[in-house]
Symmetry: C2
Subunit: 237 residues, 2 copies
């Protein structure tokens, strides 16, 4: 029997964010993927005000309280700190982003709340911040371009957290497709056009017919496509 999964709520905590564009971009990315719980720790106030006045994500930013780190995580079951290249003390569990969701579900089988801390672009999270973390999160960027823009780091994290719930679909247009009889018709019209145009492609007629037929079947023609091609070939022949 498959039990329903209890929900895991996530809060984004921006610690010492300095750039209003990045703060705004982080809020916007959260909104894009349905997250709305943000807290701000030790912001540079003028930049926060500026970010709040921007259009996108304004709602999330408007509601985001300015708290101490302790307050921001007080009601969270787990705290995850995003690690930059210099946070390399392997005294803590280290997750890469693609592994985060499964780890959260293992650690919070009954659901709960997780805080994900993002440090300032300049200095990341301090060791004092990391002492509050149950695990460190690493976005597995390339060694030659490791550092991510804050807005983009929040975007890929929000995407990954919601990914399993996002629509994963391929929708084909519902035009009526070619039927067997129409394949035969198109092939006949094509062969007549080739005869008329003296196109022999250096192969016997039977081989040409076979090749053309195989193509027509592979080309995923709609009925409309086939009618168009037949009309063209008839005109030419």
């Amino acid at each position: 029997m498959k039990r329903a999964t209890k929900p895991i709520a996530a809060r984004v905590v921006l610690v010492r964010a300095r750039n209003s564009l990045n703060i705004g971009a982080a809020a916007r990315a959260m909104a894009n993927f349905g997250m709305e719980d943000m807290a701000v720790v030790e912001p540079f106030e003028p930049m926060l005000r500026q970010a709040r006045s921007a259009v996108h994500g304004a709602d999330i930013l408007e509601k985001a309280p300015v708290l101490t780190l302790e307050e921001a995580i007080a009601d969270c079951n787990l705290v995850i700190g995003t690690a930059s290249a210099h946070n390399r003390r392997q005294r803590q569990t280290m997750l890469t982003l693609p592994a985060m969701r499964a780890w959260l579900k293992r650690r919070l089988p009954g659901g709960g709340r997780v805080a994900v801390l993002f440090g300032s672009e300049k200095s990341g999270l301090t060791n004092a911040d990391l002492f509050h973390c149950h695990a460190l999160l690493r976005i597995p960027t390339r060694p030659d371009a490791p550092s991510m823009n804050l807005g983009q780091a929040v975007a890929v994290t929000a995407y990954e957290l919601s990914r399993a719930a996002l629509e994963s679909s391929v929708t084909e247009p519902d035009e009526p497709m070619l039927e067997g009889r129409q394949v035969d018709e198109l092939v006949e019209v094509g062969m007549r056009a080739m005869a008329k145009g003296q196109v022999n492609m250096h192969m016997p007629e039977a081989t040409r017919r076979l090749r053309f037929r195989r193509g027509v079947m592979r080309w995923r023609l709609s009925r409309g496509d086939a009618a168009f091609l037949q009309g063209l070939l008839k005109r030419l022949a």
Copy 2:
């Protein structure tokens, strides 16, 4: 027998990008996830120059040629256009981002090159652009916050394209863990401390011992943690 998958190379094509910060952010996100093939169509030249002079992703931008759309996709097997909310003509295959990789692998089993077109933030891709596309790509953002910043859209797309190849790991610190004998020792020290402190928690001693033992085993203590706790309890008792 499992055959090795042939590689699919991806090119990012920015069509009529207007904002230098976004162009730079797109290049930076590509670098973060190991993509380096970018082309620029009908840019606003001063903005492109400005983006090229920025630090991050400069290498990719420096190499990105300014081309017509036809030139930018001339050597690509597939062309995918990112669709905004107003591109809703369902005459083309529509993919959501989480489904893109699997679709590409089905369509290009022998490998190949795909161009992913990103339109300007303001107007997206035109219908003329979309005529060149084999499929439209939709990043499944929330209906109440559908529109993504160009840099962030490129970031989540680059992340998704490389996701299957990214490191997915949980690394635990390799501290030596508690062994059975040490569990017994810690429980004994704990029980002595409870006796000394007259802690009875309204339950028989055997139950208290059981509960404490169960906790010690669940707490994932390292040997160092256990030594610390034992020291503390002995001191108190």
